[in-house]
């Protein structure tokens, strides 16, 4: 069987250090299983067949990256480490950024995270090596890939992929407002609100979780973020937030959730609140009850 010795070359296109530091930790600390992949570090780009890219691709790096890429020879694979390299992450709307990486070179594997855990980085590189071998053997590249490196776990407290308890969410948009990388999008579609989180834009900072008034949004400890490029735009978390009919005027409105009501009425029994009214009708009713 044809097998190529993977030779890795890393290019930092303007990272905050995080991804590069953690890449080095991945490569040099045994517990991350990187040595199992038998990857060699190439001294020169021209010897490399496994290109690892970090950073959002600054305008200054772009011409250098292009000239380095020209020195590569087929077959090779490209692995992007960090949210920055996938979508330019937290820096993406800056004048100094020309990225993300896939504008300049075809990427095979993306590893989201900010920075990703070394376990995810090792897994991403393992997938990169697998694709390299498929390219050498000229077989069809598999897009759905199983986890290669086994035995990795994350502590419960690890800030991994975002998820939502849709029943607690009031579509208040606090999370959207505090999210530094624009990873959350809340849109009204018909009678519902769509709450969407892009895992490849998210920098896993937990700001949304901290500021959410109802405890609806949370970090799971899921660190399975090494994905094929084909999944770049589909790796999302989508939830729908229902609206209800106002019992008086029949208009659709978003009912406050129990989580929110408990916060507002700390000394009252929230079950006794008349909460089937839209804000306007509630105002009217309260006014009638109290003053007329």
């Amino acid at each position: 069987m044809n097998k190529l010795k993977p030779k890795l070359f890393r290019i930092n296109t303007g990272s905050c250090n995080g991804c590069d530091v953690e890449f080095l930790a991945t490569a040099l600390v045994d517990k991350f299983q990187f040595h199992k992949l038998e990857v060699e570090i190439a001294e020169e780009i021209s010897q490399a067949n496994l290109l690892v890219i970090t950073g959002p691709l600054t305008a200054r790096s772009e011409p250098f990256l292009k000239s380095y890429i020209n020195k590569l020879s087929e077959p090779y694979v490209v692995v992007g480490i960090g949210t920055c390299s996938i979508t330019s992450g937290i820096f993406r709307d800056s004048y100094a950024i020309n990225g993300p990486t896939d504008k300049v070179i075809d990427v095979d594997i993306n590893i989201s995270g900010c920075p990703p855990r070394p376990q995810s980085i090792a897994e991403g590189i393992a997938k990169g090596v697998a694709i390299l071998n498929q390219k050498v053997q000229n077989v069809n590249i598999s897009k759905q890939m199983d986890t290669i490196l086994q035995g990795f776990e994350a502590p419960k407290s690890f800030r991994g992929k975002i998820n939502l308890h849709a029943n607690l969410c009031t579509a208040c948009r606090t999370c959207e407002t505090v999210c530094p990388s624009g990873a959350i999008n809340i849109t009204k579609i018909g009678d519902k609100y769509e709450h969407k989180v892009w895992h490849n834009t998210c920098c896993f900072c937990g700001n949304c979780v901290f500021f959410c008034p109802t405890g609806a949004i949370y970090n799971t400890n899921d660190f399975d973020t090494a994905k094929h490029q084909d999944e770049k735009y589909s790796d999302t978390n989508i939830s729908y937030i229902k609206t209800d009919n106002c019992s008086s005027c029949n208009k659709r409105y978003k009912k406050p959730t129990t989580g929110l009501l408990k916060k507002a009425y700390i000394n009252d029994d929230i079950n006794k609140l008349n909460n089937n009214l839209c804000p306007e009708c509630r105002k009217k009713e309260n006014f009638t009850r109290m003053y007329l």
């Binding site: 890393r10 990272s15 250090n17 600054t58 950024i97 920075p115 502590p155």
Partner: protein, 363 residues
């Protein structure tokens, strides 16, 4: 006639992208240095003015992931100065705990890279393994190995219960003997001595003239640690916490490495002192303040030295100006002094000895 040598901008021995053009004579002694920068410029001074204060808590972390607690720490202190907020003392303590953990981990990474560059394989492995105690800690307590997301204007986002305190102490107690042993090994290792003693000299007068900070200054006989000279946060409230390091006088790569070990050992001491006597109370103020029009300058001691934040606000949700003076900005100037007259083969080791943070400097 000299030989021109180019290193970079992308090179396995350079953690960050930078481009060196050197002219060396026939004995490989560097005669001229030109350093080409700008690869890590992400336009952050503009970005922060397009983000609200809450988003900037995180964006400032991404200036640099190695000192990613110091940036938001300094940023929130500037906001608090403008809005006249006094944070609970428990929050101050938790900020310092996080900051010192980062300091220790950042310095250990630099030392690991030094041993990597000298090809001292065992030493490098052991240094990185020791750093893993801190990385694991950061991940279990704060949720990420690099970016801890701790700071908030009005306090901090996390709290420590008794179980977590015990966990931190247990991990630190495992790490301390390893750190002390590593320091001895670095000091006595033959290869390290060969490559680091008398290499990359920065004489004390030059260091003063350039105004270097942090471990670079402490390696050249100057201690201008902000935590001592202009204490802030809990370092001001509890002076006994201030680091008690003495500067090293070798003015070379090894002295700077030793200054980093001194910093790590003091960082761990500070955390242990704090955890044995954590102030009680709230971790942040419930009420989120309005941030009025104003200006503030704040300085702190980052792992690499003095960090200064300038912040200007106009009463809106976003800063109208934010500027940084980062430690590497002054330390970088010292590189030319260190590299000129030294050997070409030492250039990457000398560069590593100022623990450059290019992403801070070019932002």
């Amino acid at each position: 006639m000299g030989k021109t040598i180019k290193i970079g901008p992308f090179h396995p021995e350079l953690e960050e992208s930078v481009y060196f053009k050197l002219v060396a004579d026939k004995n490989s002694i560097v005669q001229e240095v030109e350093i080409v920068n700008g690869f890590i410029h992400r336009g952050m001074e503009s970005l922060v003015t397009n983000r609200n204060f809450m988003q900037n808590l995180i964006l400032t972390e991404r200036v640099c992931s190695l000192c990613s607690n110091n940036h938001p720490f300094t940023f929130v202190m500037a906001v608090e100065k403008i809005a006249n907020i006094k944070v609970p003392s428990r929050a101050e303590a938790l900020r310092v705990v996080a900051d010192e953990i980062k300091r220790a981990a950042s310095n250990l990474f630099n030392l690991a890279m030094l041993s990597h560059l000298t090809h001292s394989y065992e030493l490098m492995k052991d240094t990185l393994e020791t750093r893993e105690y801190l990385q694991d800690l950061k991940e279990t307590i704060w949720g990420n190995r690099m970016d801890m997301s701790v700071n908030l204007f009005t306090g901090v986002k996390y709290d420590l219960d008794a179980k977590k305190v015990v966990h931190i102490l247990e991990k630190l107690n495992l790490a301390i003997p390893k750190i002390k042993e590593l320091q001895k090994r670095f000091e006595n290792d033959e290869i390290i001595k060969q490559r680091c003693v008398g290499v990359g000299i920065l004489p004390t007068e030059k260091a003063l003239e350039i105004g270097v900070t942090g471990p670079v200054a402490r390696g050249s006989g100057i201690n201008n640690d902000v935590r001592v000279k202009a204490p802030y946060s809990l370092y001001a409230l509890r002076p006994e916490l201030q680091p008690r390091t003495k500067p090293r006088n070798g003015c070379d790569v090894l002295s700077r490495a030793m200054a980093r070990f001194d910093d790590i050992i003091e960082a761990v001491r500070i955390i242990k002192d704090l955890l044995s006597d954590l102030p009680r109370g709230k971790t942040y103020l419930e009420k989120r303040p309005h941030i009025p029009e104003g200006e503030a300058v704040v300085r702190t001691e980052a792992p690499r030295g003095e960090l200064i934040y300038y912040l200007k606000t106009d009463g809106s949700q976003k800063p109208i100006r934010m500027r940084w003076k980062v430690p590497t900005y002054t330390n970088w100037e010292a590189l030319k002094v260190m590299i000129l007259g030294d050997k070409v083969e030492n250039v990457t080791i000398i560069l590593n000895s100022i623990d450059p943070c290019i992403s801070c400097t070019e932002r």
